[in-house]
Symmetry: C2
Subunit: 200 residues, 2 copies
DNA sequence: TAAATAGTTGAGCGATCGTTCAACTAATGG
DNA sequence: CCATTAGTTGAACGATCGCTCAACTATTTA
């Protein structure tokens, strides 16, 4: 085995992820990453091949964290449809304030790099569609349990939820008053409620 | 007056705007701009001060074109609310295909540069809120003409329309099948229809 | 404990970045 | 028609970019 690595790979990735999240990929220099991770260029390149390799793994970490976040929300909801509603309502906190101004790392990176960088584009589409599938699954569950009107398509609704969330992430970038953010989200949730089975 | 400029300032800006739109600000080099505008660095810097100056004016041009586009749609609609509906439905064409993958220059730039670059952030917020005001004005008109339920706030609805549009621009980046794009837009328009005065 | 292996260090590489400017060119004004 | 003014040119500047690698260090194996 010889000499072992002195750093925790996940800690390093978390630090790199934060820098990419706050500054974007292009605006983040290798010296920035060196400062954030406390690793010298050689170690960084030894562990991740190159700058894009660091981004790739940081995106996977971010996607995993997001997936875990969604699962937590769905798990803590009384009804299936209520879980999706809760997810949207939680976007108030996600999008408000200083953290809201950093937006979503996946959306930021998609807009910065696609369609120029096909590799990153493909990776992001994979992560995003995984997220969409999780929401679609939840909506299918809602439908199975009779919470959703029978003429609604969970897959389309999941796409709508994703699209709404993306829009909210952009809205968060404009540093809006929390009241406005909440009002827009309520408008979106109203739409979702309109898809519920009449009488519920 | 001495020697006159040999180039058409608007043509040059249009060319620069296209490059920024397709590649993003950071990924666009000055040689890229030189190639696209057919101006030498000296002329470019003489006319626009620096790279960011070019972006600034390109953003203004883009915002003006967008404003003109919205006005055209609103002017060609029978009813006020129908204009907003038409605007959303038109996003199918805006977001689909190759051009859809370039997204919205304003959203792209906002996500790339804010909150790091406060100057660009402020400029974009100005352009975007001008657009939002135009939509709010149209929705107020709809309300005045009794097309909108009396408990609806045109300003909030305008924010909702903007947010939906941003989400759709991100969706366009993922290169979705046109049918999916249309289905999501229909879901959004359904929401807007739910705000119409009952019985219309 | 010596040889082998793997990780760390940071100076420095070539390439490219945004920008400048001296030389040149074309118009205007006296 | 020459001096003045303004625009164009493109080579070249210093800064910074992403990245490499020889020297060094720590750990394992024989």
């Amino acid at each position: 085995m010889a000499r072992p690595q002195e750093f925790d790979r996940n800690e390093v990735l978390k630090a790199a992820m934060d820098v990419f999240h706050q500054q974007g990929y292009g605006a983040t220099s290798v010296p920035d990453l060196v400062a954030a991770t406390h690793l010298q260029p050689g170690s960084l390149y030894g562990a991740f091949k190159n700058k894009k390799g660091i981004l790739t793994e940081a995106l996977c970490l971010y996607a995993d964290e997001t997936a875990a976040y969604i699962n937590r929300i769905f798990a803590s909801s009384d009804t299936a449809l209520g879980g999706v509603r809760k997810f949207l309502l939680q976007q108030t906190d996600v999008c408000k304030g200083e953290s809201g101004r950093y937006g979503c790392l996946m959306v930021n990176t998609l807009l910065e790099m696609a369609p120029q960088d096909e590799e990153i584009e493909e990776l992001l589409n994979k992560h995003l569609s995984r997220m969409e599938s999780r929401i679609a699954k939840q909506l299918q569950l809602a439908k199975d349990q009779g919470e959703l009107a029978t003429d609604k398509d969970p897959k389309i609704l999941a796409k709508f939820v994703m699209t709404s969330m993306w829009g909210l992430r952009v809205l968060g970038k404009t540093n809006p008053p929390v009241a406005e953010l909440r009002a827009v989200i309520e408008q979106i949730v109203t739409n979702l409620n309109g898809c519920a089975k009449p009488g519920d």
